[in-house]
Structure formats: structure tokens, C-alpha cells
């Protein structure tokens, strides 16, 4: 009964003229529309920052190349890094949480819909401000353009004396704005999961994704303020003559590094935990099994959240901390590997003995599993302080964190898009194009980042705009650059797939994957109010209970 009522939802927006419909998107406070705008905005900047990466790879394809000038390269590198973290990773992941959390817990919206809209527009204009720096960065001095201080903007290079013009100010202000937007989302997600769950959904019955959203929201609340605070200090230095990071007045450049990485390392987990969340929803559905070790999975997520707050200085082994400091942060880095390993075993346990369906979301998830494990292992290597002294600031580090960010996170973002696209649009993405996308992206990814590990072991430093011939780096770099082009091609196929499927995709229906969580119980796309009648839940797989009244899950939980 409940289902039938929900399925006859009407879309009264369709009747409006185009301007009216666009206006609806601007004034909306609906979590689904805001979620989609976050994801769409993130994908837009993904293309821009991705093309900047391809430009860098083309410059590095051959030794002594002169495609771009060194100054331009520094800007490309800074903008690529900053944009991929704050303008791509953050919005896409918070966009998914925005869209999915209320649907999965049987709520009609987030706890504070207007705050949510406020956060989105802050993010969007902050993001535009970052790229506006290419035009406005000159400022009154006629010096500078886009920021060129690296995504972590180490002091004292960012002080007024060394960074003229307004480029660093653009970096500070745009990231400050997007951080406030993310904080708004985080408050919203915490309040939603604690206060808006439908009847029967105890904390222990929430989908793993919602648990991870909660952990990520807490991490955002605790980890983003250190960055904002440090940026506020930097602004005071630059404009009021304060001395926080001014080494000539006794200020400390190392303090900036501490503050930045107190934010920076939890940020890695803010980005990767959503990837875990997608995997924890997709892998069970395509293995036709309940997730293995739900409670352990949740506990491991919380443990990662806590431990990740105490590992930051493993980014700073090379600055000369005390032996006790090095030992502590090396040990805590090893420790965070334990709950992460538990998660990998849980996903393997879910797959083990399952009836696997190799659809595109599952393919991307399997790629994620393998690549994320490799990324974790090279992370453990870098966590050993003496090993890090040898390889710090080389391409080994670049290869390691791109294995995490692309091999782990981007793969799971693609998996999530293929999995939830039918829910958001009512149409399936094309499977054939999807497989082309997957295989090309997989090949391109490994072509780029496998050789870069070896370039790093050979001693190639990062953040250089070119290198000399005859040092054993030519072949590795050429391979990496070819891989970058292959990846770009794969993303192009993905874009074609999205546009094609929006118009011509197969009708999805409410539940195309035969899945078990609440978002699949309403229409695709869901009506503005999500559920006509508030659902009641008795187990962690409410839709299974509905489909199998003779063998419901709540008997076993």
C-alpha cells in the first residue's frame, strides 16, 4: 500500500516554462536538488582541474619541454590541487550525502533546508572566486595572477613580502568561503541523522553510508576550523601587519605546517570515507549478500575518524621534529591502517560466496578495492619516518596520494554515479559506454600512476616544471603522460554517456538494482516530499523485508 501511494507522485514543476524551471533551481531548498547542484558543480570543476592536470602532464611528457612557462606551471599545480580538493572532492561527496542521507533514513528533507541552500551558494561563489583569480589576481600591484603557492600554501612564502599582488588572498578567501559552506552541511547532516530518522530506524539500523556520513560530518566540524583559523591568521599577517608566520619577528613557519596538516590529514579521511560509504552500499547489492560485519564496519569507521585526528605530522617528518614526535606520528599512522584493513576484509567477506553481478558500479568498486589497498600499502611505507626522509617531495608521494584520490575516491565516485543516476533521473546510464569508460579509465590510471612510483624512487622531485634528459626519467614520464590522455578520453566517454542517457536511457523504474535501502522504495526521481507516508523500519534492509515477507531480516538481527 505504502509503495503504491508513493509511486503515483506527480511532478508539477514540468509544466513551467524554462525560465521558471531555472528559477526553481535557484530558490530551491530541496535536499535532492541542492545535492544534484553540488555534484554537477563538482563535475564541472573536475573537468577544468583535470584539463589543468593534462596540461602539466603534457609539459612533463618530454625532458626540457617548453609548453608552459615555469610560473604558469606553478599556478597550474596550485590550482589543480586546490580545486580538486575543495571544488571537486568536497562538493561531490557532500552532494551525495545531501541527496542520499534523508532518503536513506526515511526523512523528507535535511534538518535545516535553508541552511543547506545557504551552504551551497557560499560554496559556489567561493569556488568561482578561486578561478576568478586568473583575472583579478593582479590587484593594484600589477603583480601575480592565480595562486602559485601550492595547495598547502607554506609560510613564509605566502607572506606579503614574498607573495605580492592578490593571488594568495584569492586562495585564502575562496577556501574560507567554501569551508564555511561545508561546515553548514556538516551541522545539517549531524542534526538530520540524530533527529530526523523515521520510525524504527535506531542508530544500529542505519545504512553504513549514513554512519559514514555522520563520521565525515564530525570530522568536518573538527578539522575544517583549524584551516579557517590559520587562514584568518595569514590574512591578519598580510593586511594588519601581524607576525604569526613572520619569521623575522620570531614567528614560526612550522606552526603553519602544523595548523595546515591538523586540517589536511583529516581532510584525506573526509574525502575517502564517503568512498568507503559508497562501497559499503554497492558491493552488497551486487554480491546479493548482506554486508559482512555491520557492527565492526561501523566501529572501524568511528575508529578511523578518531585516529585520523592524531596522525597529521607524518606530513612533516622532513622538517626536523624531535625523535619522540617522529616516533609518535609514525606509530599512529600504522595504527590508522588497522581499522582500514578491517574494512577491506569486510568488503572481501561480503563478496566471498556472493552471486556477483558485474555491472558498471561493481566494476568500479572492484577497481577501488584493489587500488585502495595498494595506496594503503604505499601509505604505510611513507609512514616509516626514515623511508619518508628518503622519498619526501618526490613523485613517489605524488603517485601514492593519487592512488588514494583517483584509484580510491574517483573510482568510487564513478561507481556511485552509475549506481544512483537511475534514482536521480529515472533513466539508466548506458552499460556499454559505461564499460568502455571503466576499462579506459582503469588502463589510463595505471599507465599514469604506476610508473610515477618508480620515477619517485629514481629521485624525481615533485613540483618541478621540467627535468633533464639522461636520468632514466624519460620513458616513465612519457608513459604517465599518455595515461593522462587516456584518462581524459575515458572521462569524455562518461560525459557522452551522461548526456546520451539523460535523453535516451532505458527507463529505470523505482528499484532497478533490486536493492534494499529506503531510497529505492520511492519513485525515480523521488517527489519533492520523498515519501508520501513516513516509512517504518524494522531491520537494516527495509526493502528486503517488504519484498520477502516470508523471510524478513528482522528475525536475524
Amino acid at each position: 500500500m505504502e509503495q503504491e501511494i508513493a509511486l503515483t507522485a506527480v511532478d508539477d514543476q514540468a509544466a513551467l516554462p524554462l525560465v521558471g524551471r531555472l528559477h526553481q533551481w535557484v530558490v530551491t531548498v530541496d535536499h535532492k536538488r541542492l545535492g544534484l547542484m553540488y555534484i554537477g558543480g563538482g563535475l564541472f570543476f573536475f573537468v577544468i582541474a583535470g584539463l589543468q592536470a593534462v596540461t602539466m602532464r603534457l609539459q612533463l611528457a618530454f625532458p626540457d619541454n617548453h609548453l608552459v612557462a615555469p610560473q604558469v606551471f606553478n599556478r597550474l599545480m596550485t590550482m589543480h590541487g586546490t580545486a580538486m580538493v575543495f571544488l571537486v572532492g568536497m562538493p561531490i561527496l557532500t552532494g551525495f550525502f545531501n541527496y542520499l542521507v534523508p532518503l536513506m533514513i526515511g526523512a523528507r528533507d535535511l534538518a535545516f533546508p535553508r541552511l543547506n541552500s545557504f551552504g551551497f551558494w557560499l560554496w559556489l561563489f567561493g569556488a568561482l572566486l578561486l578561478y576568478f583569480s586568473y583575472i583579478g589576481g593582479d590587484g593594484l600591484y600589477g603583480a601575480g595572477s592565480a595562486p602559485d603557492v601550492g595547495w598547502f600554501a607554506y609560510a613564509p612564502l605566502t607572506e606579503r613580502a614574498f607573495s605580492r599582488g592578490n593571488s594568495t588572498d584569492y586562495w585564502i578567501l575562496s577556501i574560507l568561503l567554501t569551508s564555511v559552506g561545508s561546515t553548514a552541511t556538516a551541522i545539517n547532516i549531524v542534526a538530520t541523522t540524530f533527529s530526523m530518522r523515521c520510525k524504527g530506524m535506531a542508530l544500529g539500523k542505519m545504512p553504513v553510508l549514513v554512519w559514514l556520513a555522520l563520521v565525515v560530518a564530525f570530522l568536518m566540524l573538527v578539522a575544517l576550523p583549524p584551516l579557517s583559523a590559520a587562514q584568518a591568521m595569514l590574512l591578519l599577517d598580510r593586511y594588519l601587519g601581524a607576525h604569526f608566520f613572520d619569521t623575522q619577528a620570531g614567528g614560526s613557519a612550522i606552526l603553519w605546517q602544523h595548523f595546515f596538516w591538523i586540517f589536511g590529514h583529516p581532510e584525506v579521511y573526509i574525502l575517502v570515507l564517503p568512498a568507503f560509504a559508497f562501497a559499503s552500499e554497492i558491493i552488497p547489492v551486487f554480491s546479493r549478500k548482506v554486508i559482512f560485519g555491520y557492527h565492526v564496519m561501523v566501529a572501524a569507521s568511528c575508529a578511523i575518524g578518531f585516529i585520523s585526528l592524531g596522525v597529521w605530522a607524518h606530513h612533516m617528518f622532513a622538517v626536523g621534529m624531535t625523535p619522540a614526535g617522529n616516533a609518535f606520528f609514525a606509530a599512529s599512522t600504522m595504527l590508522v591502517g588497522v581499522p582500514t584493513g578491517i574494512k577491506i576484509f569486510n568488503w572481501l567477506g561480503t563478496i566471498w560466496g556472493g552471486k556477483l553481478r558485474f555491472r558498471v558500479p561493481m566494476l568500479f568498486s572492484l577497481g577501488f578495492l584493489f587500488q585502495f589497498m595498494v595506496a594503503g600499502l604505499s601509505g604505510i611505507m611513507l609512514g616509516v619516518a626514515p623511508f619518508d626522509w628518503q622519498l619526501t617531495d618526490t613523485y613517489f608521494v605524488v603517485a601514492h596520494f593519487h592512488y588514494v584520490l583517483i584509484g580510491g575516491i574517483v573510482f568510487m565516485i564513478f561507481a556511485a554515479i552509475y549506481y544512483w543516476f537511475p534514482k536521480a533521473t529515472g533513466r539508466m546510464l548506458n552499460e556499454r559506454l559505461g564499460k568502455w569508460h571503466f576499462w579506459l579509465f582503469l588502463i589510463g590510471f595505471h599507465l599514469t600512476f604506476d610508473p610515477l612510483h618508480f620515477a619517485g624512487l629514481h629521485g624525481m622531485p615533485r613540483r618541478i616544471y621540467t627535468y633533464q634528459p639522461g636520468r632514466g626519467l624519460e620513458g616513465l614520464n612519457l608513459l604517465a603522460s599518455i595515461g593522462a590522455v587516456v584518462q581524459a578520453l575515458a572521462v569524455l566517454i562518461f560525459a557522452v554517456n551522461v548526456l546520451y542517457s539523460l535523453a535516451n536511457g532505458e527507463e529505470a523504474g523505482p528499484d532497478p538494482w533490486d536493492a534494499w535501502t529506503l531510497e529505492w522504495s520511492t519513485t525515480s526521481p523521488p517527489p519533492e516530499y520523498n515519501f508520501a507516508i513516513e516509512p517504518e523500519v524494522r531491520s537494516r534492509r527495509p526493502l528486503w523485508d517488504l519484498k520477502h515477507p516470508e523471510d524478513p531480516d528482522w528475525q536475524y538481527e
Partner: protein, 200 residues
């Protein structure tokens, strides 16, 4: 779907269902994130204690603002009385205690302003003077900014109360505002200890 032959198992009823108010959870989350923000400024202050390369040093120019502190901490008590009165429906009593809170908060802000005026114009001590000035003005200023924001919100409620728009129904909203105010007071305890006790 289930085959026709299978017998459905009757589902147990879902028990009584109450969840915390979203406003309370939201304000607690805001307080958590604000605490993280303040802790970085406190960390910077502590890190730079005694590292200034030039005078003046804290002992030369700072004296503990005892009256200010007493006023601000008392305002935390008066706001509790106000909220309690509103919950019982005594709007007039609420208005009186709310006014007391506003006055105590304003006294604190005025006290800080006088202290800064003395430091800047008589001691010629600014944010650019040395590391002590840098950390002192940013930490105390950040707190004063939060006091100002709190006072603006308290003032809005005061105006609404004078217009007769605040009733028993708004008890939770005023309580949430009081939580923020308690947080601002608690931060002052930390700032006071750091700046005027440990740092001096």
C-alpha cells in the same frame, strides 16, 4: 517478490519513537566546530608565550579585567533565570532577566573597548608591535567578536519581547541562544586563564 505459497511472518510493532530536537543537536554541533576554531587561536597564543623579540611584554601592560569577568560570568546566570521564567510563561520576568543579561554583556564589551583604547593610544601597543600583540589582539578580538554576535541576537530577542512577540512557545529558541551564550562565557574562562594568568 514472495511466492504466493510462502506465509508472511507478521511484523512486530515499532516501539515508541522519540528523537532529540534538531535545534539542540544543531547548536551543539555549532559549538563543537567553534571550539575547534578557538582552540587553534589558543594554541597559537600558548605557543608564542615568551617568544616576542621586542617589548612590551604582557606583564608591562596587562592587568586582569576582574570586573569584566564577573559581569560576563554573571550574565550566564541571569540568562538561565530568564529562560526558566519564560518556560513557566512569566514573560515580564523573562524580559527583566533578559535585559540584565544584555546590560552585563554590554558592560563586558565596553570594558574590552576601554582596555584596547588604553593599550593602543597610551601604550602604543598594536597587533603589529610584536608576537604578543599579534596573538593578544587576535585571541581577545575573536572572543569579543563572538560576544558582539551574541549581543546582537540577544538585542533582537529583547526588541521582540518589548513588542510582545515572545511567548512560552519560544522557550526552546531562547534556550538555544543561551547555550551559545554559555559557550562564549566558557571560552572567556579559557581566554582569561591563558592571557591573564598563564601568559602573564
Amino acid at each position: 517478490m514472495a511466492s504466493a505459497a510462502a506465509t508472511p511472518i507478521p511484523a512486530p510493532a515499532v516501539e515508541e519513537w522519540t528523537l532529540p530536537s534538531r535545534g539542540r543537536v544543531g547548536v551543539l554541533a555549532l559549538i563543537l566546530t567553534e571550539s575547534a576554531f578557538f582552540s587553534i587561536f589558543v594554541a597559537a597564543y600558548v605557543f608564542y608565550i615568551g617568544k616576542s623579540l621586542s617589548p612590551p611584554y604582557p606583564r608591562d601592560v596587562l592587568s586582569p579585567p576582574i570586573v569584566n569577568t564577573v559581569c560576563l560570568l554573571s550574565s550566564s546566570v541571569s540568562i538561565v533565570f530568564a529562560v526558566r521564567a519564560l518556560r513557566m510563561g512569566h514573560t515580564r520576568v523573562f524580559g527583566m532577566w533578559w535585559l540584565v543579561t544584555l546590560a552585563l554583556g554590554l558592560e563586558f564589551l565596553a570594558g574590552t573597548a576601554l582596555e584596547w583604547h588604553r593599550l593602543i593610544y597610551r601604550e602604543h601597543f598594536t597587533i603589529a608591535t610584536n608576537l604578543f600583540g599579534t596573538t593578544y589582539y587576535s585571541l581577545v578580538g575573536l572572543h569579543a567578536l563572538h560576544v558582539t554576535v551574541g549581543l546582537v541576537m540577544i538585542l533582537i530577542v529583547m526588541v521582540l519581547t518589548a513588542g510582545g512577540h515572545v511567548t512560552r512557545r519560544d522557550a526552546e529558541h531562547t534556550e538555544l541562544l543561551s547555550w551559545y551564550w554559555h559557550f562564549v562565557d566558557a571560552v572567556w574562562v579559557v581566554v582569561f586563564t591563558t592571557v591573564y594568568v598563564i601568559g602573564r
